[in-house]
Symmetry: C2
Subunit: 420 residues, 2 copies
């Protein structure tokens, strides 16, 4: 099987020289791309439509059709990989008919996402990367483009608990609300939460974990967020539920938190920390947790390092970085946080994202009114790319349980038989 860069260098001189768009070279490249997808999965039924009406079809009943409406869309794809694909999909120069995730599956099958950006493109993005470093000052701006969107927008595709992270499906048949509450309960059980314990939730979002832990496990706790929308929404909800004497959400950076807690949790926030701040984060955790206290990190992760997808980083999560399991457990070890348990919930996130994408499509017209059609397309691509990434690509969801130093009094087994 040819790699994407071989396909490109075979046939497409524009990979490094974008100014020379040559339609016949481009057609060759598209043909090679389609051939590679077919070779990777000969049973896949798919087609590619070209700007001049030509169709390359594999199978009589294509599940997915990729249409290049302009030669530029193909040129951008070949020159800038997923960054070009994403921009042209957003603008509509590139269309996917049928099953978007099936197209992405074939993309993963040929390791399309292995191709890094050419140096010239990296240079172009450099000012953005420098601007997006997650300093205490910049971090709120980095997340503002995402979490600064109105709570109403998120309510159109999240569940009623407003949980924006991987759910936990015990059977796969339950509602998204139930699966999100079960995720919080799954974490509460791993953390052995007990009444009166002090829980810290770093990056607590709209407060779902804290609220469940307060109601069902009787903890007292603090959560932090740097999104004003989340901060206001969460505290309002806490007040309505009469939990303001037990839990509170503060508007502050994790690096500014003080105090000592019995238990620690962070759900779906570590992806915003950034590679260079991973040691800072772990050191902070060890200073906030009581000795022998338990912590749980719930985060998207990779098996090994691979470059950050530039489209997602540029348009969806500025400053974002998907950490890999080796660096997570290494940094925990270096900070005296021995790993007790790791669970990979990859397929749970795929399922969560499928539910979100379905909710999203139901509300697409409303979202187009709130924003515009290109936003609708961009966010659709984001949700489906993530779902496909968990199903077929490089992303996982890790729950990593650890203690602050050794704790010899923990239960012997996962189902909680006590250490006698």
């Amino acid at each position: 099987m040819k790699s994407i860069s071989e396909i490109l260098s075979d046939s497409c001189p524009i990979f490094h020289r974008r100014h020379e768009i040559n339609a016949s070279h481009l057609k060759n490249s598209v043909r090679n791309l389609a051939d590679a997808m077919h070779a990777a999965d000969p049973s896949a039924q798919f087609a590619m439509g070209l700007w001049d009406g030509d169709i390359l079809a594999f199978g009589a009943h294509p599940k997915t059709i990729l249409r290049f409406k302009t030669p530029r869309a193909a040129a951008e794809l070949f020159a800038r990989g997923f960054l070009g694909f994403g921009e042209c999909y957003t603008s509509g120069e590139l269309e996917v008919e049928g099953d978007l995730q099936e197209l992405l599956r074939l993309g993963f099958a040929i390791k399309f996402d292995d191709g890094d950006l050419p140096f010239s493109q990296k240079l172009r993005l450099l000012p953005h990367y420098i601007r997006s470093r997650n300093t205490v000052e910049q971090a709120p701006c980095n997340i503002a483009g995402h979490y600064g969107l109105e709570n109403e927008f998120y309510s159109l595709y999240l569940d009623e608990t407003m949980t924006y992270s991987c759910a936990y499906f015990k059977t796969g048949e339950e509602s998204l609300d139930e699966a999100q509450l079960d995720k919080y309960r799954h974490i509460a059980r791993k953390l052995l939460l007990k009444p009166g314990e002090r829980l810290l939730d770093v990056g607590c979002g709209w407060g779902g974990m804290l609220i469940l832990a307060a109601r069902e496990y009787g903890i007292r706790g603090i959560g932090n967020t740097i999104s004003r929308n989340q901060f206001e929404y969460a505290n309002e909800r806490i007040k309505v539920l009469g939990l303001q004497n037990q839990i509170e959400v503060v508007l502050d950076d994790y690096r500014n938190l003080r105090g000592k807690f019995d238990k620690f949790v962070s759900i779906g926030m570590f992806e915003h920390v950034g590679k260079e701040y991973i040691p800072t984060f772990m050191h902070k955790v060890s200073s906030l947790l009581e000795p022998r206290g338990l912590g749980l990190l719930h985060t998207i992760g990779k098996d090994v390092y691979s470059h950050v997808d530039p489209w997602t980083e540029r348009y969806i999560f500025p400053g974002g970085y998907v950490p890999n399991l080796p660096e997570i457990v290494l940094e925990m070890g270096l900070n005296g946080l021995p790993v007790l348990d790791v669970e990979n919930l990859r397929m749970h996130y795929a399922r969560t994202l499928d539910r979100w994408a379905a909710n999203y499509e139901k509300n697409a017209a409303k979202i187009a009114e709130m924003f515009d059609e290109s936003f609708v397309r961009m966010w659709r691509l984001y949700l489906n790319t993530c779902a496909a990434g968990f199903k077929y690509g490089y992303v996982r969801l890790f729950q990593v349980l650890f203690s602050n130093g050794l704790n010899n009094e923990l239960p012997l087994t996962r189902n909680g038989a006590p250490y006698p």
Copy 2:
């Protein structure tokens, strides 16, 4: 708290110059060592006895007394750390009265094992390290000193299943035999073993896992060992149980294995692979497992890299290397073996070793007849050092479950709800 090297450089010029043994300097060093232990745990009751009859006591009822019978024993300890301690304990120049593990606990509390060997000592060990590299040719010699001991010897402290790895205690009250069988069942459940599946057990020891998997799960399988004793014993047992049509043990190196298997397991063998062969091992695993097949690695591990304890490597496990979790999961990731689940069974191994040590003491007189008194002492130190290492030190027991490439059909949850 002073580090051990600070204690040494403060008071003991022999740290780098062993030829000048000065008794008053040595006494100072012992006093500083005792002070450091007391500072690390002021409630600990312990004492040190010196060659001239002096006693340094903390508390009226010492649980453990370290006696230096000669100045040389102290000099060796300070010059060569645990290597010197182990050699002098073996020879009897150094005695521990009372609770040996309590002394080791205090040693861990002052991070005694952080002190690396001086360069001159490393140089002295260099020929040994070079000789002990785990090449296919050398590996059988490396394990011969340990597993070449008579099966009868191991039967004096292991359980009836002859299992020489961490057991799994559901309650902590069960017999060692039951806990070892439960360990195999715990692994079988994680691997989702099904009748007729082909299981490969790399480093199968005396065959315990294969036998249980054949009898209770109906698998067919192969195990390998490079110990002739284990090979003969295991196949004899398989024959007696009438399982020879299902399972077989071969006398061969893991690097020579061929074929394709549905499931893979390796229990307590990875510690013998050696750092430089970890990539070889993982690559071999990925080539022996069917795509999407599950594997489980059960191994002693550390949270992060630290130097190999030279006494254990020299006298107990030549060529041995305790891998760390970051390098294990990194190498799995690099070889397309995504991690699904990690469980740290540290306290189970502490408990297993306590059972072994108790069995061992019951048979100490018999073992002294089989070997000699210094062997009895050496092996006692080994068992107790390991137990203390799991309880208070740097060693963990990791079970790491992985698949060969992505498998989207696995159960959603640990208790096995199927992915619908």
